[in-house]
Amino acid sequence: MTQATKKETPLTLDVFTAGIWKENPVFVMMLGLCPVLAVTNSVLNSLAMGIASIFVLVCSNALVSALRNFIPKQVRITTYIIIIATFVTLVDYIIQAISLDLYNKLGAFIQLIVVNCLILGRAEAYASKNSFTKSVVSALGMGLGFTLALIMLGGVRELLGAGQLLGYQVFSTQFEPWVVMILPPGGFIVLGSWLLLINYIQQRKTGQIIAADATAHCTVKP
């Protein structure tokens, strides 16, 4: 990471949008794939998981960033884990209080946010080196990017696997659901398809830039 330069840069919109597109945790950095594959069998589960992750990510990054000058390097990982585990426990209680049904559906994956490498990764790579505001803004962007990716997977899987979106029937009852889509293999298939599409778009974009560069050079130099 280019921490030294980042430390100097002021807060810009890029800090926020990086997590959503350019450094999307799922589609670009491939971080935290365990919940991505496990709980995205419906849009509602994806959304709940995404919001829980945003909460943990933002709160833990805020606290890590606020305490970054007090924490000795030798115990930083331990401290980050304690901070993250605290917020995961809070989320766990809050979801139980909001809806037991949702809690049962998400199962152990709420507790497993603790080991989501996206959250520890951002605490170590970003929050521990940047100001409070920047860390919070960046965490919010990353969290939204993560949620967006979860919903993109959940939407496709729920639509094909159950013929529904957010519980509402989209296809007629004639539609035979592809059960594989709501099973674990469906997670891999849909994630792979999205990656294919997004890399294809990215490649075409860079291809166009190179082509444009080449023509620009040609017009200047002949």
Binding site: I82, I83, L90, I182
Partner: protein, 231 residues
């Protein structure tokens, strides 16, 4: 950090490391305790509502209910906070017993399947169930709540108590799809055999243990509601 790479940072004293960890752990503990205390009553209320919903689902005729705790061979009135094996008796608006709701659990395909089922002590029938907790495979194990052939098993699943009141006359068991011959057999869902078997096993286990106790205490259950009213 901005320090040059060849310069090894000085090791801080142990006291500093320990005190940092202690402070962070204290903040963490404080937050967790606050959240726990704040959400505890809400979670308890949610759990109570979920149980209540399940009871009235398996005993559709019931309008009120009483909770009993099993104490060896006896039943005694309790509330939902009582520790122990709880059973729920449902009553209609004339305070007549319309059925008992019982918990049952067994190992399914992925994890324990827990459900609440309705039992009619007079006819000895199991008349339906509601899944409380299940992580079975969507589209396969979850069919137990939707498959019409499987639900037909629970119009009146025979769970009568034998004369000695020591167990059931016929053990409840799950049989292969399409081979059901008796009222005490459960016709499995083809493709969800493991979950179907789990249902058979848990109902048999719960029935063998609890139905005789219900039979012995039936008169208590029948008058309990009128009694509690009079008090």
């Amino acid at each position: 950090m901005s320090t040059p790479e060849n310069q090894i940072p000085e090791m801080p004293s142990s006291a500093k490391l320990i005190s940092t960890l202690a402070v962070v752990a204290m903040i963490s503990g404080l937050l967790v305790v606050l959240a726990y205390e704040f959400t505890k009553p809400i979670i308890a209320e949610n759990q109570r509502l979920a149980t209540e919903r399940a009871i009235f689902k398996v005993l559709p005729k019931a309008t009120s209910r009483l909770t009993f705790v099993v104490d060896q061979d006896k039943l005694s009135l309790a509330d939902d906070k009582t520790v122990g094996e709880l059973i729920y008796a449902g009553y209609d608006k004339n305070n007549q017993l319309v059925g008992i709701a019982l918990n049952a659990a067994a190992q399914g395909y992925q994890d324990t399947v827990r459900l609440l089922y309705g039992y009619q002590p007079n006819s000895g029938c199991i008349t339906g169930f509601d899944v409380l907790k299940s992580t079975e495979t969507p589209g396969f194990g979850t069919k137990i709540t939707t498959d019409p052939d499987f639900l037909a098993n629970f119009k009146c699943l025979d769970a009568k108590v034998n004369l000695e009141q020591s167990g059931l006359i016929h053990a409840i068991k799950t049989v292969r799809h399409g081979t059901k011959q008796h009222d005490w057999e459960i016709d499995a869902i083809s493709g969800s055999t493991i979950t179907s078997n789990a249902i058979g096993r848990m109902l048999n286990k719960s029935g063998q243990a609890l139905h005789p106790i219900i039979a012995k205490n039936l008169s208590l259950l029948e008058i309990a509601k009128i009694h509690s009213k009079n008090k």
